[in-house]
Structures are given as structure tokens and as C-alpha cells.
């Protein structure tokens, strides 16, 4: 699709890092659990269940490790446990996961906005187990043109370098791209290193920590911080960027877009579909290897009591606060 206005058209690939390098699950200390069931209400996957003795049980094999329940437990009975991710894909196939990292949506929106202005196509690429198909489907509903899941147990254990070969293989399959966009950070790791490697090998201009993107300057114009200043840079294409939060307001999921997407499947590519050196992926292709993961003891938060809550005119309220500030020796 070529834009009428400018005559340019961009092939944009948005890369999302969705898979963690380790497995997390929540563990309930039954001796302190009061069985209030808040964790069950909060859990997006309906994992916690009530036991006969009216305490809560969270089965490690069902728990997705999102950690949402932990801060809500009134008795601080839930603790996250972590193990190195050694489970094969098959056991996690059944539970699907949508886009949870807000930066993922920022990255997708960045691609979509450029495509809408200049014309072109947006692919959303992610590497991980089959449960991440849902995340890519959400990207399609946002408006992306195609979703591709790079799915193969052989990919597991890949560090940034090995992951970059996987992405390069995928990009080669697509015939290259004009712009590769990734989120600046995720709870699973920092895509900027992997993207730097891809940029290096494919001769793309690399620019991380991007706070705004617009067409211009013979490629794109981006802004980023440099010490205490804000720089605007012209970046030639093809380029590989990682984007910061606040770069845009991601569009919502519209019913019309959802309807267009019905019946569309997310493509799945395995290592056999990609074109790269066979032993460069997984642990064998990695330059660093995760050896140990251990949870820190949870800091006991002090219980706060509700203090004095006041109503009144703004003058009275401001006046009372001033008095308090004086008592507290702030003023």
C-alpha cells in the first residue's frame, strides 16, 4: 500500500520480547493465609483455589508467574518463587496470554502510526511458546497487518546474541524491512541488546531510548535524551529503534478491527523456516549463560494506619496542612 501523499511506503517490523528467561510461580504460606480469597479475585488466570481447611492453594504448574496477587495479600502470605526456565513448551500451551507490557503497545502504535502516515505494512514478531499467539492476535486487533510467532523449543536458552540470529532469520524471510521497532524494556529483559546485534549485522542504523519518531530528514527524525539535553537526530533507513514509554498513546482495540481479524491466524515459524546458521541459537549460540536465580527475602512493609482525614474549604484545608508542616519541621 503506497501512500498518496508522500509516495513512500515502509515495511515495518515490531519485535516483542515476551518469553522470560526463567519460570516464576506464586507460593502461599498456608500458616499465615486467612482464606479471604482476594488473590483468587485478582488472578487473571483463576489459579488460586480454596482448600478444605479454608486456606488458599496455588499450584505451581498452573501459576503463570505474573505476580499480580502478591501485593494484594493482606497477610503477606504470597511469595514469588523462581526457577530457571527448563520446561518444554508443551506444558504451557494451554494458557494464553495477551499483551501485558504497556511498552509493547507503544512499540506497536509507533509502527502503526508511521504506516498510517506514509503507507506500508506492519508485521509484529515475537519469539516464544504457543501461548503468546494471543498477544500477537491482540496486535492484529490493534491494526497490525500480520503476526508471526517464532516458536521452537530449540530457541530456548538463547541470550541476546542468539535471539538476534533468530530475528535476523525471520527478517531475511520477510525480505528485510525498513524499520525494526522494539520496546525499550520488558519484565523479561531488554530488547535493546538483541536489536543492536540485528542492526549491526543487517547494516541498520541503531538508535535506542527513542522518545519520539516522525518521518523526515531522509528517513525518520527521532528524539532522545543525552545527558541533560534532548537531542533530535535524523536517522537513515533501514533503522532499528527501541522506544520509551510516553512516546505515544496506543490506540485501543476496536470492534471493527476485531471483526477484520476473525478467522486470521498468526503464522508460526520454527527454526526450520528460518535461514541462519543452525547452532547459533539456544544455549549453544549464546555468549552468556544464566546460571542461577534466587528470590530475595521479602521486606516486611510496615502497616500504615489511616491518619486524620479532613474536609472543608480550600483555605481551611491549606491552613491545616501548613500547621502540620510546621509541626513536622518541614517549614
Amino acid at each position: 500500500m503506497v501512500s498518496e501523499k508522500t509516495g513512500t511506503s515502509l515495511n515495518i517490523v515490531v519485535y516483542l520480547k515476551l518469553e522470560k528467561d526463567y519460570q516464576a510461580y506464586a507460593e502461599v504460606d498456608q500458616s499465615t493465609c486467612e482464606g479471604c480469597g482476594i488473590c483468587a479475585k485478582i488472578c487473571p488466570f483463576e489459579v488460586p483455589s480454596m482448600r478444605v481447611d479454608e486456606t488458599v492453594e496455588i499450584l505451581p504448574e498452573k501459576c503463570r508467574g505474573c505476580g499480580a496477587c502478591v501485593p494484594y495479600c493482606k497477610t503477606n502470605s504470597i511469595r514469588m518463587q523462581y526457577t530457571l526456565n527448563n520446561e518444554p513448551y508443551s506444558s504451557t500451551e494451554l494458557v494464553s496470554v495477551g499483551l501485558r507490557n504497556p511498552l509493547d503497545k507503544n512499540a506497536i502504535e509507533a509502527g502503526l502510526a508511521l504506516r498510517d502516515e506514509l503507507g506500508g505494512k506492519v508485521w509484529v514478531l515475537a519469539e516464544g511458546s504457543p501461548r503468546f499467539e494471543e498477544s500477537l492476535r491482540e496486535a492484529l486487533v490493534m491494526g497490525a497487518d500480520e503476526g508471526i510467532l517464532l516458536c521452537d523449543p530449540k530457541f530456548m536458552g538463547s541470550d541476546h546474541l542468539a535471539s538476534s540470529f533468530i530475528i535476523e532469520g525471520a527478517l531475511n524471510n520477510l525480505g528485510g524491512c525498513d524499520l525494526l521497532i522494539a520496546p525499550q524494556r520488558t519484565s523479561c529483559g531488554e530488547p535493546l541488546f538483541c536489536v543492536a546485534w540485528v542492526a549491526e549485522r543487517l547494516g541498520m542504523t541503531y538508535m535506542p531510548f527513542v522518545r519520539s519518531i516522525e518521518p523526515g530528514g531522509g528517513g525518520v527524525l527521532v528524539r532522545r535524551k543525552w545527558g541533560e539535553k534532548m537531542l533530535e537526530l535524523s536517522v537513515s533507513l533501514p533503522a532499528a529503534l527501541t522506544v520509551e514509554r510516553g512516546i505515544n498513546k496506543p490506540r485501543g482495540l476496536s470492534l471493527m478491527a476485531a471483526a477484520r481479524v476473525m478467522g486470521k491466524t498468526v503464522s508460526r515459524w520454527s527454526s526450520e523456516d528460518l535461514d541462519f546458521g543452525g547452532n547459533r541459537i539456544g544455549e549453544a549460540g549464546s555468549q552468556v549463560r544464566l546460571r542461577m536465580v534466587e528470590a530475595l527475602p521479602k521486606r516486611r512493609r510496615k502497616k500504615r494506619k489511616r491518619g486524620e482525614i479532613l474536609k472543608g474549604s480550600p483555605e481551611v484545608l491549606a491552613g491545616t496542612l501548613i500547621e502540620r508542616l510546621k509541626e513536622w519541621q518541614i517549614l
Partner: protein
């Protein structure tokens, strides 16, 4: 000589307006620790834009040699020129370990360097571990929003590349010995530039660092826009504090993400925290609930944030805060 054969550590140093960045002084500290344990030497690389005086200050902190880079194209193409300088230097001295501070600049340069050299990188390290029996060097870092400790091994060829987490090591202090300062020169026509600076825009206002401020004024959805935050900023300046926010203002573009307080943002523990127009859900409060005294200003009396308040004011922040500012000005007499 260490068991891992690292004879030399190269530090890549960052400057802020002509002064050595704090993160770089911490980096030197981290390297000195390794020198004590491994018996290696430390070289520091200082990209241009920094005068001799800063190079001398750096030399007094501990490195054996400080390499200054001088290049006319640095201002227009800082990333590429710095990278080229670093690569030329590395070819000459063949350091076994190259360390960067894990600031935005340092992380960016580390990523480019690792990509160019094709070697492994570990990010935001808080320490190192040696396993002499395996001849392995491990980096220690935090995971999953600082709830985990992880160790990863460098498995490939040298140089190993790492970024060091800020505020873990104390800044290095001046010694009475000074290392040598050498200037590196690069040929003019060094590389094809793929990016260039078109504009330099003014820096954001100076305020105390959010994470170490004793007073924090935070704003949420109720603040309503950029202008609202400007008012909060006035209050913060009067009290000598820093400004922060929750997620919704960031998403609406009213304020920078760097100022977001919460489970995926900064954690603050000021003596006084004043939250304006903030509902108080756990993703924010987990980032500030250990503050000394908490003041909550919100016109919704059902807002859960009031449960954490030392003093809560139910009212319109747009009326209360300006009056607060006026009264404080009167009290201070300025």
C-alpha cells in the same frame, strides 16, 4: 593476573556538562574493587567534549591511564565517533573486560560495542564472581523488578562487556596518585554516518533526583494536564523537593516517564510525600508506601489512597495547592 586471564579492564566514562558523571565515579570504584581482587590494570576512555581538567580529575581517581578522544565530528555524531574511538583503543590495548555505567548513554554504547565486537554482554551488574575451577567469570544482577538475584556466566570470547548498575558502588574519591593522560587521535574520515544531530533542545528543569529527594510532590490523573504539573512543580521548588507522578499522566503525555513512581517505575522513600489527584492503587503505592509522612489531596473521599494518609485533605487540588503555595511563600517571607 586473574584466573580468567583478564589483565586489563577498560572503563568507558561519561560526562555531564563537562563534569564526570556520578555513574562513572561509581564505575571506577567497581573497577578498583576488581583490581584489588584480580590484580589487573585499569584504563579509562573519555570521549571528547571534555577538557583536560576533567581528564586529570579522572586520572586521580585510580585508573593507570586515561585516554582522551579528540575529534571534530564528535558533536554532530556522538554515538558513532565514540564507538569508533573505543574500537580503535580496544584494538590497541586488548582489554579483557570493558565496563560501562548502566545509564542511558552507557547502556547504549555498551550495546553498540557488544554488537560490533560480537561478544557477550551482561547488564546492570551489582558484582562479579569468579569460579576458578571452571575458569569462569560470572556477573551478578537483579531480576524481575529487583525481587531476584541472578548470576550469569560469560561463555564466549573476550572482551567481556558489562554495564554496572547505578548507586550500587560508592563514587571513587581522589587519591594522591594520578594516572597518565593520553590523547587518541582518529582520522577525520572515519566512518559512514547513518545518523546525525539536527537539533539540541533545552534540558528539562533542574530538580533534586527523585529517588533521593527528602520531599516528593506527586500528581495523578486528577492533575488534569501539563499546566497542573507546573503548579505542583512550584510547590516542589518551594519545599526543596522533587516531582513525581503515577502512570495515567505519563500515558497522556503530561509528564516524563522518568518521573513515574510505582512498581514499574521508581521507588521513593522521602520524609514527606504529598500525593495530589491520585487514586492510590497498589501499582503506585508499592513505590512510595514506605515514605515517612504521606499527605493525600483528592476530591474523592472514597479514594483508597486515604487509607495510607498521615493527613488527608478531601478537596479540589486545583484550589488547595495554589493556596498552599501562597501561604508557604508568606511563611518563608519570600
Amino acid at each position: 593476573m586473574s584466573d580468567t586471564g583478564i589483565r586489563e579492564i577498560l572503563l568507558v566514562v561519561e560526562e555531564n556538562s563537562g563534569e564526570l558523571a556520578d555513574i562513572s565515579k561509581q564505575l571506577v570504584s567497581a573497577a578498583l574493587k576488581l583490581r584489588n581482587e584480580w590484580g589487573c590494570e585499569i584504563s579509562a576512555f573519555l570521549p571528547a567534549g571534555i577538557d583536560e581538567r576533567t581528564a586529570m580529575t579522572l586520572a586521580k581517581l585510580g585508573p593507570e591511564i586515561v585516554y582522551r578522544l579528540d575529534h571534530p565530528l564528535m558533536k554532530e555524531h556522538p554515538h558513532e565517533v565514540t564507538l569508533q574511538g573505543l574500537l580503535c583503543l580496544q584494538e590497541e590495548i586488548d582489554a579483557g573486560l570493558i565496563l560501562f555505567g548502566a545509564s542511558e548513554w552507557g547502556t547504549d554504547m555498551a550495546a553498540r560495542t557488544a554488537a560490533r565486537l560480537g561478544t557477550g554482554l551482561l547488564h546492570e551488574l551489582i558484582g562479579f564472581d569468579l569460579e576458578p575451577e571452571n575458569e569462569a567469570l560470572l556477573g551478578i544482577f537483579m531480576g524481575f523488578e529487583d525481587q531476584l538475584v541472578c548470576k550469569a556466566q560469560f561463555n564466549g570470547s573476550k572482551p567481556f562487556i558489562a554495564t554496572v548498575k547505578p548507586k550500587v558502588f560508592d563514587p571513587a574519591s581522589e587519591t594522591d596518585r594520578a594516572g597518565r593522560v593520553k590523547t587518541i587521535k582518529l582520522p577525520f574520515d572515519i566512518v559512514e554516518f547513518k545518523s546525525s544531530i539536527t537539533q539540541i533542545l533545552p534540558s528539562p528543569a533542574d530538580m533534586p533526583d527523585l529517588e533521593s529527594a527528602e520531599v516528593v510532590i506527586a500528581g495523578g490523573q486528577g492533575v488534569g494536564g501539563e499546566e497542573g504539573f507546573a503548579v505542583l512543580e512550584n510547590l516542589a521548588r518551594l519545599l526543596g523537593g522533587a516531582i513525581g507522578c503515577t502512570l495515567p499522566p505519563v500515558e497522556q503525555g503530561w509528564i516524563d516517564r522518568e518521573l513515574m513512581i510505582g512498581s514499574t517505575g521508581k521507588t521513593v522513600r522521602p520524609g514527606l510525600y504529598i500525593g495530589c489527584g491520585i487514586h492510590g492503587d497498589v501499582y503506585h503505592t508499592s513505590g512510595m508506601d514506605e515514605s515517612g509522612r504521606i499527605v493525600v489531596i483528592n476530591d474523592d473521599e472514597k479514594a483508597p489512597f486515604f487509607d495510607l494518609a498521615t493527613c488527608g485533605l478531601i478537596g479540589d487540588l486545583h484550589e488547595i495547592v495554589p493556596r498552599l503555595i501562597e501561604e508557604i511563600r508568606d511563611q518563608i517571607g519570600s
